[in-house]
Symmetry: C2
Subunit: 374 residues, 2 copies
């Protein structure tokens, strides 16, 4: 089971340092959660992710449901054994990708869905759940709160997520409110299904309500009365960073301080510090790893475009003060060359560097919080 | 400089165990040479290649000449420093790829040439050298024996290769003979250019003559009179394995026994043992790494197609007796999944396995030769 240990509450902000204890070890918070959609970080094997010190990895149930299938992973002994990951994993409900497809706002992760043979998409949404068509074999799949939880139990991540409905940003308030109530019913059904077959997994609720403050407060009230192990913040977070920060100012104080929280899908460098100051414990994003594959290296001086001509003969580490495997073994010039030559090795090295950067940054933030400097 | 130490000559065949001493360490022979066209093995960084025990890597001058350019690599301190490889490297003259393009028999390595912007190709071949157009920027480049050697000196590999002419298999004997004489003149000019600026690099001649026994013998006679450090066998080796074996039976005894030899572009599992029995010391091929990226894993029981449905739930190592990083950390089912999901991690893991297999196989052959069992 999961427990949250509060180490220090900053005197300067809502930022806090904690430890989430899980069956597969500790997650120091605040922390960044990298996305390994298909049970692997792109271009990295699991042992490297461990070496870098990635304490929590986010895997996508939707993708794993379709390939290789949850039963196969269960037969392997669960996701950890399947992918040889020793440390914690979180899975989502699968709903996010299904709804993203329906709205045509195809999530980034969907680019990595392997060979697309059929037009995927949502066929029907009703109280029971959501019926969609697999892009892999055209098969119709009904995703319900109960089937999502059953799938996530087969996967066996340390933290699982109840089924929720994802709405387009532009939706009217009436639709948003109806959806929120249904999402609450789905989350309750997910929790019931989870608790009916209790194991060592933990379940985080997902707070919804879009950008409507009243609905967000209501969502917190409804969901915090249920015995969830933690609280994720999902749905539309606003049109810009400031709206998201305001929303966190509203939501975080509504959440129980003795349980961990998670911000879904946010991990861009611009937001991180402010998000942590608002009291966020963990946040996931494919941003740092995707940037890496596009040749954008994170450094303390800002993003470095490795393909820029200025790196052609820069025979020093991409970031000279960096102690990562890449910066101690390779030069910016070599990485520039690998990207120019379209060599996969470049994607691997850039990903290692960016993840190391994120882990380091998070350790620095934790240190600052401990000294009430953030 | 390079020296060859003969450890044991098999009593059973022409197979022999030796050690090639180079400025960057020892190459135990017989040995397999993996191809890292663009100054990297595909999907592997240099430290992993070292970990696997790859003692000699083949890099392609043609590719490096066009990207990042030999001057850039020289400024980095040479190929070893540029790519952080501690152990020996061999480069070719660049001619092979130029002529492959001209003949339309585009070599496999050319698939990895990055963004092709211009139609590459040979514009002119004469006594001076070969004029071709870069596929990267449309620039005309003249490759001569002298410019090839100058480029390879900038790259700084332990072993370099003189410029030769590659002919189509179907060429008539008159053309072959004319070409052979020119190749001999080019090789002599290459050697002169090499010796005029002597450093710690070694140069292997390339024996030509196609499938004509008389011309092969003549090529050996001409080239072994020159102070080359070793002898590579190039050009057309025949239409099938048997023709190649017969050709090696003819050529190898013509080469000085106190110098190393190398078979260019051959490394398929079917040929290896027989080729080694013929007395070949080293051989290069992109076959094992290319097979890996196509999901064909080498095992003692033969090639294993990882995408085959039978691997979907095979929760044991790809090869159970194998001690490689992949087989000790991952299952066939996981690799099957990675390939199904088009995850780059799959290419990396399969490449590690196949290279480990090759290194192990070579160690076994050396052991057998030492006991006169091969």
């Amino acid at each position: 089971m999961l427990t949250f240990e509060l180490i220090h509450q900053s005197k300067k902000s809502r930022a806090r340092v904690g430890r989430i204890h899980t069956p597969h070890g500790i997650i120091d918070t605040p922390n960044f959660v990298a996305v390994g959609t298909n049970a692997t970080l792109k271009a990295l094997d699991s042992t490297i992710a461990d070496d870098i010190g990635l304490q929590l990895m986010f895997c996508n149930t939707y993708h794993l449901l379709l390939q290789p299938g949850a039963e196969t992973i269960a037969k392997a002994g669960g996701l950890h054994k399947f992918m040889n990951r020793k440390t914690p994993i979180i899975t989502d409900s699968g709903g996010f990708q299904v709804f993203s497809l329906a709205q045509g706002t195809v999530a980034d992760e969907l680019k990595s869905r392997g060979t697309k043979k059929y037009e995927g998409g949502v066929l029907k949404i009703n109280e029971e759940g959501v019926l969609f068509r697999s892009y892999r074999d055209g098969q119709k799949i009904l995703l319900t709160p109960e089937s999502s939880v059953a799938t996530q139990k087969l996967l066996g991540a340390d933290i699982i997520i109840p089924l929720d409905e994802l709405l387009p940003n532009s939706v009217d308030q009436k639709t948003l409110e109806c959806s929120l109530h249904r999402t609450h019913r789905w989350e309750k059904r997910s929790l019931d299904a989870h608790l009916a077959h209790t194991n060592n997994q933990a379940m985080y609720a997902v707070i919804h309500g879009g950008t409507n403050p009243d609905l967000r407060i209501m969502s917190c009230k409804v969901l915090t009365q249920l015995p969830f192990d933690g609280f994720a913040i999902g749905g539309s977070l606003g049109k810009n960073h400031q709206e998201m920060f305001d929303l966190l100012d509203l939501v975080i104080p509504q959440l129980p301080g003795d349980k961990p929280n998670h911000l879904l899908g946010i991990g861009d460098l611009k937001s991180l510090k402010t998000v942590i100051e608002r009291g966020v414990d963990t946040m996931d994003s494919s941003h740092p790893t995707r940037c890496a594959r596009h040749g954008l290296l994170f450094t303390k001086q800002g993003g470095m475009k490795i393909l820029h001509q200025s790196n052609k003969e820069r025979f020093t580490a991409p970031e000279q003060s960096c102690t990562c495997f890449v910066c101690t073994n390779y030069t910016a010039a070599y990485l520039h060359h690998l990207f120019k030559a379209n060599e996969m090795t470049g994607y691997t090295l850039a990903t290692i560097h960016n993840l190391h950067f994120m882990m380091n940054l998070m350790a620095e933030y934790r240190e600052k919080i401990l000294h009430d400097e953030l």
